[in-house]
């Protein structure tokens, strides 16, 4: 499938150079892994503990493992575009949301699908509330997002700790396990399904509302947006609330994977990865135009890199250092200066090479 994408991308690339970086990143990783170990891409069916056939393989781990990151990157893209800054409290907010969910689940005696649904609703509500808190500071008080969200970044995980009264409670319920791994009978990991669901929800939102246009307009020129009848405060607030929902979903997945909530480690440092995904996706961190697909590809590229490093037996603690090198290589390749240099180089040799290629063909 990625090979197909490559073919069709040459024409599409001209128009949409924004997707160049994530595409190149994913391509490099694919080629690298193909050379290193072609079996990296094998996908198999195995029977899990509950006796159901499920998919397994590195590709599945990448798609599964990236779920939280992809969901957060989508929300982060909107916030970045509208307010020209990043929310660094997403990890903390996911921990709060997860704790709220656990709190609801723990307060009932029997966990039924209804209590889970209620819990997820409650955790969405809590996350939206905190999202609105961030959004209010950013839009009404005009504080840069990074600073505004520094507040929750500082104390969010402590609030999560406080919600559960200073414990890391476990939840044992087949429903929660199903959310974190597989729904009986379905071979695709549930987090992947949730990502698809969130993607569809956002897609419908973009199709049925003017959110995309408003977010970009506000991000590019707030004053002009206002004079065209757009309420920039409301638009920014909305992006933060949407990000809140994303955090709630990410928190739910993260909690369900382990069936317990650990306020300290749940989605630790995920905010950095989410921002990185937005940047690798070719989005300007200063706001304005955005490309959601780019961010999603960026998120998968990050996860693919992590899984590749694991497959190469790099200890998990060292992964960061290698990741940093790859990030730097990517952004250097994508930097305006290097791009310009490449363009000049291409112009200089294009005539000669063009002739050569024709001759070869």
């Amino acid at each position: 499938m990625p090979a197909n994408k490559k073919k069709s991308s040459s024409g599409f690339m001209q128009k949409n150079s924004q997707l160049l970086i994530p595409l190149v990143a994913i391509l490099i990783l694919i080629i690298f892994n193909l050379i290193r170990d072609p079996s990296f891409f094998s996908i198999g069916m195995v029977t899990n503990n509950d006796g159901y056939p499920v998919l397994q393989g590195n590709l599945i781990s990448i798609f599964n493992g990236a779920s939280e990151l992809v969901i957060l990157a989508m929300g982060m893209t909107l916030v970045t575009a509208a307010s020209g800054g990043q929310d660094i409290s997403v990890g903390a907010l996911a921990a709060i949301a997860g704790s709220a969910l656990v709190k609801v689940l723990k307060s009932t005696e029997v966990i039924t699908p209804w209590t889970v649904a209620l819990g997820i609703l409650a955790c969405c509500a809590v996350a939206m509330l905190f999202g609105a808190f961030n959004g209010t500071i950013v839009s009404v008080f005009r504080i840069q997002p990074m600073i505004a969200t520094l507040i929750l970044f500082t104390c969010g995980r402590s609030i999560a700790y406080w919600i559960n009264g200073g414990a890391t409670p476990t939840v044992s319920s087949p429903i929660i396990t199903a959310i974190g791994s597989f729904i009986p009978g379905c071979p695709v990991p549930t987090p992947i399904l949730i990502v698809i669901f969130m993607g569809i929800v956002l897609g419908v939102l973009f199709k049925t509302t003017t959110l995309g246009l408003y977010v970009q307009t506000v991000g590019i020129n707030q004053g002009a947006a206002k004079l065209n009848g757009i309420n920039p405060v409301a638009v920014k607030l909305l992006t933060f609330v949407i990000l809140g929902v994303c955090c709630a979903m990410a928190g739910t997945i993260g909690m369900s994977r382990l069936s317990l909530i650990n306020h300290e480690t749940l989605l630790l440092n995920v905010e950095m990865d989410a921002i990185l995904a937005v940047a690798i996706g070719g989005n300007n961190l200063g706001g304005g135009k955005f490309n959601l697909v780019g961010s999603i590809m960026g998120a998968y590229a990050i996860q693919a890199l992590t899984i590749t490093l694991y497959a190469m037996k790099v200890p998990s603690t060292d992964v960061k250092a290698y990741k940093a090198i790859v990030i730097i290589l990517l952004v250097v390749l994508g930097s305006p200066v290097v791009k310009e240099a490449f363009r000049k180089l291409k112009n200089q040799i294009s005539a000669g090479r063009f002739l050569k290629e024709k001759g070869a063909a």
Partner: protein, 369 residues
């Protein structure tokens, strides 16, 4: 709900610039908090040693706070500083334990001096690479320094997976040097048995205060210092005014790296340990201190004296929370967060009421002369 700007004509002529006003507010709040500490909770607050303890514990934070202030004045950000601190402290501890290079025959003093050089070297290397990428390749500083942070934190476990500690059994001489404390008798206070214990200051504090002073003078009096402000105020204008913007941004990051390296050495002297979790989230504390001290992330405004008081405020909050009996582990951070929120909103309201929106400098408003 935008804050009303009152009569426009009145706010034209200001004696105190916004940066200074915000700094004075934070100094005032620190004084008020500390005074409240003395009056309400007494105890430790009454002893001068309390202040020195804060300084001893947070000397490294003062230094990386200065680093962040410099970078933020130029309109950038550097979130790699705490990672560098942790990496430097690990490398230094490894070096001092002789696990990094064969160091037989060296005297302990030479070893410590070499450790300081290693710290500065690592810091400069980080600063130079990040600065070059940010300034000359025009890549967003957040991404570059994020990569820097990942790299530094990742390198720690590559250097040593196990946490490392200097111990009295193995390295008594080195500990003697780096744990040396300056004693000030007249600022001492009696302990429980009534014996006067002199006030103790670590060497790191002296280093931190010296750096604070040097950077403060540099920002005010030197050409490069003023160029930092100009570049942060309006990068395009700075270019047109004939400032070498690229070199200025590079220098800011170089300084930031250098200071982070020194902060790592100071951190190592205080904690005598290397650990992957050292100085966790220190970059955010440094950013918070700068902001509380009146530095604007949008650039062009700020100074390190304010940052110093930012660090003191953050530390005092933690003391007050503990002193007031909120001993549950989450209260310290929750109150820190609440205080940060308070400061941020205060800044917003103060700046808005002075008729100067942070984002929209006065010269952009046309036709109101």
């Amino acid at each position: 709900m935008t804050v009303n700007t009152k009569a426009i004509g009145q706010v034209r002529r200001e004696k105190i610039s916004n940066a200074n006003l915000l700094m004075y507010i934070s100094i005032g709040i620190f004084a008020a908090m500390y005074l409240a500490g003395i009056l309400i909770w007494g105890g430790g607050f009454r002893k001068p040693q309390q202040i020195f303890d804060i300084l001893n514990n947070y000397a490294y934070l003062i230094i990386i706070g200065c680093a962040l202030t410099i970078v933020m004045i130029t309109g950038g950000i550097d979130i790699s500083v705490a990672g560098i601190v942790a990496l430097v402290s690990m490398v230094d501890v490894m070096f001092l334990k002789g696990r990094l290079l064969p160091a037989e025959g060296m005297s302990d003093g030479v070893k410590v001096a070499l450790a300081a050089c290693i710290a500065i070297g690592i810091g400069l290397a980080f600063g130079a690479v990040q600065g070059a990428l940010v300034a000359y390749l025009d890549i967003q500083p957040f991404i570059i320094s994020l990569a820097g942070m990942f790299f530094a934190r990742g390198m720690i476990t590559i250097v040593s997976v196990e946490p490392m500690q200097l111990t009295v059994q193995e390295e008594p001489g080195i500990l003697d040097i780096i744990q040396h404390r300056i004693e000030i008798g007249f600022l001492g206070s009696p302990n429980k048995k009534g014996v006067m214990i002199p006030a103790r200051i670590e060497i790191g504090v002296i280093i931190a205060i010296a750096i604070l002073f040097i950077i403060a003078v540099m920002l005010r009096k030197s050409r490069i210092g003023r160029n930092f402000y100009a570049v942060g105020g309006n990068r395009q204008s700075a270019l047109m005014l004939g400032i070498n913007v690229k070199r200025t941004r590079f220098t800011a990051h170089l300084f930031s790296g250098l200071l982070a390296g020194i902060a790592g050495f100071v951190f190592m002297m205080h904690n005598v340990s290397g650990n992957a979790t050292n100085a966790t989230a220190g970059e955010m504390d440094a950013i918070a201190s700068s902001i509380i001290g009146g530095t604007l992330l949008s650039g062009g405004v700020g100074n390190v004296i304010g940052t110093f008081f930012g660090v003191m405020i953050l530390a005092t909050i933690k003391l007050i929370v503990t002193a007031s009996g909120l001993t549950k582990p989450w209260w310290q951070t929750i109150t820190s967060g609440a205080m940060l929120a308070l400061f941020i909103l205060l800044q917003s309201v103060v700046l808005a009421n002075r008729g100067k929106k942070v984002k929209l400098p006065g010269w952009m408003k046309l036709g109101k002369g």
